[in-house]
Symmetry: C2
Subunit: 68 residues, 2 copies
């Protein structure tokens, strides 16, 4: 069974930014799918188990952006 | 002897965009240096010989942007 969490990321301005965030978040253990809405900054993550917020924050910051 | 030309590129929003344009323009034969000002869209190109505007336009479009 999977679960879905949505975070808001600030600072993304283009498709390259979306790709960077998607790539880093996908590397978190258990993540099955990542969808990013550039206009709103919403990052929706489907994962096999509950996500650790700190891991998501670290991945977003690794990509060069911030959680709202 | 080198020469410098400046073009204005529209649509760049972040450092990834700058990197994409720089990479494509650097591949034009004779180009020695490329500097991009994200805020103004100015792309300054130093080259060994006069640049063909059509080559610059093609490189910018290949990167996914437009000459102003």
């Amino acid at each position: 069974m999977s679960q879905t969490s949505t975070y808001t990321v600030t600072g993304m301005t283009c498709g390259h930014c979306v790709a960077s965030v998607t790539e880093e978040v996908q590397e978190i253990q258990g993540v099955e799918n990542v969808e990013v809405d550039l206009a709103t900054g919403a990052v929706t993550i489907t994962s096999a188990n509950p996500l650790d917020d700190a891991s998501v924050r670290a991945a977003v910051e690794e990509a060069g952006y911030q959680l709202a």
